[in-house]
Amino acid sequence: MISLEEIMFVLAVFAFGLSLMAFIDAFRAKIRRKWVLGIILLMSVVVIFYVMQSAGLEVPSLIMISLDAMVPLGLVAIGEVVNERAGTVNIGLEGILLLSSFAAVFGAERSGNWAIGVFVGAVVGVLTGLIHGLISIYAKGDQIISGMGINLFAVGFVAFGIWTTWVPGVHMLSSGLGVPRISTPWGGLSWFIPITIALALVIHFVFYKTTWGVRLRAAGENPGAVDASGVNVFRLRLLACIFGATLAGLAGAFISLDWVGMTTKDLPAGRGFIALACVVFSGLEPISALGAAALFGFCGGLSTWIKATPQLIPIIPPGFDKFIMMIPYIATLVAVTVVIGRRRFPKSVGRPYRREEI
């Protein structure tokens, strides 16, 4: 006998799939009724969660894990949206996440204060952004190679740093040094979550309602015009690059100090690149970037949650947990494939500005 809940579940899954496809399509075609689709999407998710909950699965923990997983992707993606709008690409974000996650733990343990740890993480972001910006904006070097160099450097530096500071391999954060969380009935909620959401809204406002935003967007589209209007394109781009890298630095500090409480040389696990996919997915819109981060964060959270849910463990065939670990990467690949090609990027993104080029 099929229960009502099972029918509801199947219908909700269908509704979810269809509305998600329509939602993505709506973005492509710029249909106005996005909010209708959004409501269907939300309702189907609620029904799916309700059925899962009544089947005895811990839905709140899935949501909490997904929100945590959203933060680093969201912060990095929003920062990179700003950076790419101004005309510079930084593929060294993975490296910045890694460097700052280590530096944050280092700072927190040396000072005995989590706030200083977060600050140190952000400073590492500033410095790396400054180096990448100087190379790609002032020295007119190859941005992609520079970014990749940062990634390679980070792997070596963090492994070296963990080795010389503590013991080789993994270092667990001393207890009591984690960032305090907002307590809720379902567990601790990180302060970074509301901050990330607020940041997306603020950046959206800055982009479309302020002079700074106009200049920034123009710097990526037509740097010559911005230069002619008397604004220093180089400095604007450098500031955008540093801003993006600083958010990546904060994201790194979040991962090590607030979320997992440890530091290793492979802590970001590709999140810097998944965030780049979020940027592509968003078409350089900060709020869409946050949405993409929530979607990819959910995929990441799902794979962690499945492995930690006692009811599901016996269902998974031995060894197949490796395939569950693939979920976020496969989802990223699929999502980027579906939306790309319909995205328009600033004209001179990735190209250094030269005065003569006007």
């Binding site: 190859d142 390679l152 070596g156 010389t164 990467y329 494939t337």
Partner: protein
């Protein structure tokens, strides 16, 4: 004869730039070591002495160089076609596991080795295919797709090496049978190095002496102009990815079929990790030229091989080598760095 002279004089600038990047890497690496209280000179002496002036070290240097020159070709050929193909890491892993799988067949010795090599190469190319298709048909940037496929390859190989291909009761995969191992030359160096050099020469020949190669380079130089000249950029990029995949797969195969004493993949994949990304540095220092990469692979092979001696005798964490590689790559990003510094010095002296 003057044309030959011109050809060599054209080499001085790229060679100077590469050497400058290496010097920058070593200098900043040394500075970091000094800050952390190590003696950089002692460390680097141990590193280079062991890598190039001992028989065991030299064998392992060349053995590392075998793998590194192949993954260097993956990235370098991509750069020539205008692509930033950083998928060698995953393609190499899949190639290595394919070679292990092929080794379970029972075939006569020579043929078995050939089958293993072909399996590895095809697996690498197969892993590069989605990247190529997504890039050409959909316009997905290869940086995102290759990194995602690297992670998927990582978990797939982890599954294989812990599951179907595990040698029960050990921490490695099934060992490569003696019938599909590369013959050893001296020490740990196997004949795989000849295959790698041959591959590099073939790629050189294709790229500079065939129409296909000219087309690929034209697309890399200026995609739009190439398109107007009647070249199909999609096809050229496709071939760039596929040859790259073949190279990375072969690198993975050589790593398990040609590296004693294990002839297997470790369960945490530690002995097949990291090569793909080091290949970026190999290609950049080799100026994305197959023959240049042979030399730069020997240099980076030396860094990889000597780092253990440095750790044992000078107690310096071997990860410093990765730092040096990272700085070398960052330095390559600014080809004009040398000119900028020269101009600054001149400006100061004239003042």
């Amino acid at each position: 004869m003057s044309s030959l002279g011109e050809r060599f004089s054209g080499l001085t600038k790229p060679v100077t730039q590469s050497l400058f990047a290496i010097v920058m890497g070593l200098a900043i690496g040394a500075l970091l070591l000094a800050v952390w209280g190590y003696d950089p000179l002692v460390g680097f002496r141990h590193l280079f002495e062991s890598a190039f002036f001992t028989e065991i070290g030299l064998a392992s240097t060349l053995s590392y160089a075998t793998t590194l020159m192949l993954v260097g070709i993956t990235f370098g050929l991509g750069m020539r076609a205008g692509l930033f193909n950083i998928g060698a890491e995953g393609q190499l892993m899949v190639g290595a596991l394919a070679a292990v799988a092929a080794s379970t067949f029972s075939l006569p010795p020579g043929l078995h080795l050939l089958v293993g090599v072909i399996f590895a190469m095809l697996a690498g190319a197969l892993w590069a295919l989605p990247v190529a298709i997504l890039k050409v048909k959909k316009g997905v940037h290869e940086v995102v797709s290759t990194i995602m496929l690297n992670w998927i390859a990582f978990y797939l190989c982890l599954y294989l090496v812990l599951g179907p291909l595990l040698k029960p009761g050990t921490h490695t995969s099934i060992q490569i049978q003696s019938s599909s191992r590369f013959p050893l030359l001296f020490g740990t160096l196997s004949a795989a190095i000849f295959v790698a050099i041959l591959f590099a020469i073939i790629v050189y020949f294709i790229m500079w002496y065939t129409r296909l190669g000219t087309k690929i380079r034209a697309v890399g130089f200026d995609q739009e102009s190439a398109h107007y000249m009647g070249i199909n950029p999609g096809r050229a990029m496709m071939i760039g990815f596929i040859i790259g995949g073949l190279a990375a797969g072969l690198a993975g195969g050589a790593l398990v079929m040609g590296v004693p004493p294990d002839y297997a993949v470790f369960t945490e994949l530690s002995n097949i990790m990291g090569y793909g990304f080091a290949g970026i540095a190999v290609a950049l220092i080799g100026r994305n030229h197959p023959l240049g990469m042979i030399f730069s692979a020997v240099f980076f092979g030396g860094l990889w091989s000597g780092k253990r001696a440095m750790q044992i005798y000078a107690h310096i964490p071997l990860e410093i080598v990765d730092i040096v590689i990272g700085i070398i790559v960052i330095s390559v990003a600014i080809p004009e760095l040398l000119d900028i510094i020269r101009r600054k010095i001149k400006g100061r002296s004239s003042r």
